[in-house]
């Protein structure tokens, strides 16, 4: 692993280690009390979830249309991270909702759209794992479709829900709560970059090993 990756990893780890204290220092919210603090990890996770999906889509375009073989490694890494951060979002969300709304799940447009995007990338990962040879191109096609589909999913789910009153998930934040939020956003962004590089490197090294084996056989 390159030195810059180690530095970023150390920095991200440090920020995550410090995060509990910074989150603890934030004041309790008026109506929701303590539980809203899940938000400090929930929202950065959701952002990284979306960013990861976009990275996977862009890398897939580069792989499929611009024939860059290494782009596929970034796509695989980003797709795996999409599922990771998606899991964080979809687990922390309902746990917060249980207290805030009284139910584990509501067909809220944002949650539902996230669930659909999450399922699409689980499908991508299953395809890459079990699809056999050639699934790199297939996966790239699918990731591109998923990226373009985000808008349609959002619009359709949004209007599907207009019969029921939309619930406001995100309260407007005062400054005292803004600091821990942006701290966590920074920590998660660093984490995402580190994990992406590590995971892409894994793919890249695997490709090199395969190439060497092939060279040995011939």
């Amino acid at each position: 692993m390159s030195r810059s990756t180690w530095y970023l990893l150390a920095l991200a780890a440090g920020m995550f280690a410090v995060a509990p204290w910074i989150i603890n220092a934030a004041p309790n919210e008026a109506t929701m009390g303590l539980v809203y603090k899940i938000y400090f990890f929930h929202m950065p996770s959701a952002w990284m979830f979306l960013v990861s999906a976009i990275v996977a889509g862009v890398a897939s375009i580069r792989f499929l249309f611009f024939r860059k073989p290494t782009a596929d490694h970034w796509a695989v890494a980003a797709a795996e991270l999409t599922v990771l951060f998606g899991a964080f979002t979809l687990v922390s969300g309902p746990l917060w909702a249980r207290k805030a709304w009284g139910v584990w799940w509501q067909w809220d447009p944002r949650l539902t759209s996230s669930l659909v995007l999450f399922l699409m990338f689980i499908a991508y990962n299953l395809l890459r794992r079990y699809g056999g040879p050639g699934s790199d191109k297939l996966g790239a096609g699918m990731a591109i479709f998923a990226m373009f589909n985000v808008v349609f999913v959002w619009v359709s789910v949004n209007y599907w829900r207009t019969i029921h009153p939309p619930t406001s998930v995100v309260p407007s934040l005062p400054v005292a709560m803004g600091i821990p939020l942006w701290f966590c956003v920074t920590a998660f962004t660093l984490l995402f970059i580190v994990l992406l590089r590590m995971r892409a490197r894994l793919e890249h090294q695997r490709a090199r090993v395969e190439a060497l084996y092939l060279a040995e056989e011939s």
Binding site: L64, A123, Y130, G131, L138, G141, M142, F145, V153, V157
Partner: protein
């Protein structure tokens, strides 16, 4: 340009000719759709009356399941007879192959829906002839969207392992907007006081989806099918 459509026409004609001779996929898919409707009926009819607003959902879900099966089996036929290589080696625009395949599958699905719509209307007392034109447009738009994505994925999966379960896994989340638009649009048409404006909105969404995804599929078919 005309060469493109000629190739697409030839591919479609080939599929239809093979199908007309045996009627295998058509008959089994239609009957499959009927059994799906029956299963849903037993699940959703309580004390002799159907749960409210259930007819559109059953119609679209039965169509989606039937389309998935038909897609898998149409391409399976190509794979078994080893004709895929011949198709790909043909000196023609690859996307033309895609259009030909898509047209064939759409015709098949249209036939299935021709049976499904009256059946669902009959079993659930749904006023399917009230706004037949708009209903037809919704079904056409939804089927096109679903099959546009499905044909590409099924073609992509032709040489993959676990292809029969991977197709639905990949297809269903991707076509969520089509299903939502189709079901809600049909529900707006079939409800006691039809909401035509809402149906129009969903029809518009389906149209946009179709345009975007057919174009995307045409772009990606070539690089994805090339080794």
């Amino acid at each position: 340009m005309s060469a493109f459509f000629r190739v697409a026409w030839i591919v479609m004609k080939k599929d239809l000719t093979v199908e007309v001779r045996s009627l295998e996929i058509v008959s089994t898919t239609v009957f499959f759709a009927v059994t799906v409707v029956l299963m849903f009926s037993f699940g959703l009819v309580v004390e002799g009356r159907a749960v409210r607003d259930v007819a559109p959902a059953i119609l679209w879900i039965a169509s989606a399941f039937s389309a998935t099966l038909a897609l898998g089996r149409t391409f399976e036929r190509e794979r078994l007879n080893d004709t895929v290589l011949a198709l790909l080696l043909a000196p023609s625009d690859r996307p033309a192959l895609y259009v030909g395949k898509l047209a064939g599958i759409l015709l098949l699905l249209a036939l299935v829906e021709l049976f499904l719509v009256p059946l669902v209307g009959l079993l659930f007392n749904a006023p399917i002839f009230a706004h037949a034109g708009r209903l037809f447009l919704l079904l056409a738009g939804g089927s096109l969207g679903f099959c546009a994505v499905g044909t590409l994925f099924a073609a992509m999966l032709l040489r993959a392992r676990s292809r029969d379960v991977l197709l639905p896994i990949m297809l269903y989340p991707m076509t969520v907007p089509v299903m939502i638009a189709g079901v809600r649009g049909t529900a707006a048409l079939l409800q006691p006081a039809p909401d035509l404006a809402m149906a129009q909105f969903w029809l518009g969404l389906l149209g946009a989806f179709d345009v975007v995804f057919v174009v995307l599929a045409l772009w990606t078919f070539e690089p994805v099918m090339t080794d």
